[in-house]
Each structure stands twice: as C-alpha cells, then as structure tokens.
Symmetry: C2
Subunit: 94 residues, 2 copies
Amino acid sequence: MGFAENFKALSDPVRREILVLLKKGRLSAGEIGSHFDMTGATISYHLNILKKAELIFENREKNYIYYELNTSVVEEVMLWLAQLKGENNDAEKE
Amino acid sequence: MGFAENFKALSDPVRREILVLLKKGRLSAGEIGSHFDMTGATISYHLNILKKAELIFENREKNYIYYELNTSVVEEVMLWLAQLKGENNDAEKE
DNA sequence: TCTGTATTTAGATATTTTTCTAAATATTAT
DNA sequence: ATAATATTTAGAAAAATATCTAAATACAGA
C-alpha cells in the first residue's frame, strides 16, 4: 500500500528477478527458490515484501503456494514516473 | 549506471521528493535542502546518489551548484516496468 | 495417526543505508 | 589576502534490510 512500499519492493535485485520469473506465469515458492542460491526462508522473506506491496498475490493449492504477478501496481508506479517526466520542461507548456 | 542504481535511487522517499521538486525547474543544493528537515550534508549525500544514478545532473554557477532532472533515465525505468507488464498474460498472446 | 514435503516464522547476525557532526574545499566579495 | 557563504567529504552512530539456522505450521498420503 502506497508508493513507498512499491518502490522499496522494486529496489532489490532478487525481488525484481522474482517478478521477471513470474512474468511467464505463476510459480510455487519452491520453484521460485530453485532459481536462487538462497535458503527458502530468505525467498519467503522477499515474497512477503512483494506481497505486502501487492506486486504479487498468492494462491494456495494442495501442498503448494503459487505466486502470481499483479500488473496493476506496476502500472501505478509507471504513472508516477510518467508524471515526473511530464511537464517539467519550461519550453513545452501545459 | 544500470538498473540496480536507478531503482535504489528511486527507492528513498527523500530522493523522490527531490526529483519532484526539480520537476518545476533547477534548484541549488541549498534550495533543495531548505525543503527538508535535514542537514546539508545529508542532502548532499542524497544528491550524490541521484547523480550517480544519472537521475539528475549538476551545473556549477557562481557560488552555487544547481541540480536538474534528467528524464531520460526515468524513461529507461519505465521501459523495464512496461516489459514486466508486457506479455505476461497467457491469454493475450504476442 | 504418523511421516514427509512445502513453506513460513522467529531470532540472531551481517550488511547496507541513512543520518549526524565536524572539518575540508571552492568561490565570491571586500 | 581575508572573511563569508555554499556545498561536499570523512568518519561515526543509528536505523533499516537481507540473510541464515532452527523451529513451527500446514497439508497430503500411507
């Protein structure tokens, strides 16, 4: 909730890579973890940060927890950046 | 240079506010500092991080150092995010 | 119910980041 | 050259973040 969390979540390379992995489709926590040289606990920590920022959401199924990308928040961040790029140049008014 | 630096630079609320201030036009380090309840040294630290990420550039003039927004890097970050939003949905091919 | 697998939580440690104070540098003006 | 102002740099302290190990939880299958 809030930009602060979104940007913080995006600021870590591991978390960005997780998002890229999820671009191709949902993955379980374990599958995500197998892409990194880190303990499952650490991956869980990162997933939780992404979840709190609503960049991903989870889906419990059987013995697994699947994670999926939530693109709507990505959009919000882009909007903030777009405004920054926006009407900053004195020359091009309005 | 590189996404890591860009995202890290954007992850701090003080630095984001500095960028927003610069949207309206260039400001000296002192003018930027006066918007925050922090020492000049701390502001200088943040400006340096933004500078290294090439989100701003400086312009020395007289006794002052003026800072300006560099929107081209903002664009790069947006591009990364756009790709994340991109072809992630199984349904909408291509 | 017991065992095994997937994942998270708790607590500790290590690393990184943010902030401060004090000193250094640079530039202007007298 | 000296004094004043603007800003940065250095070094230390405080705060936040990332990582690990070990234990806890949740669920599935025998």
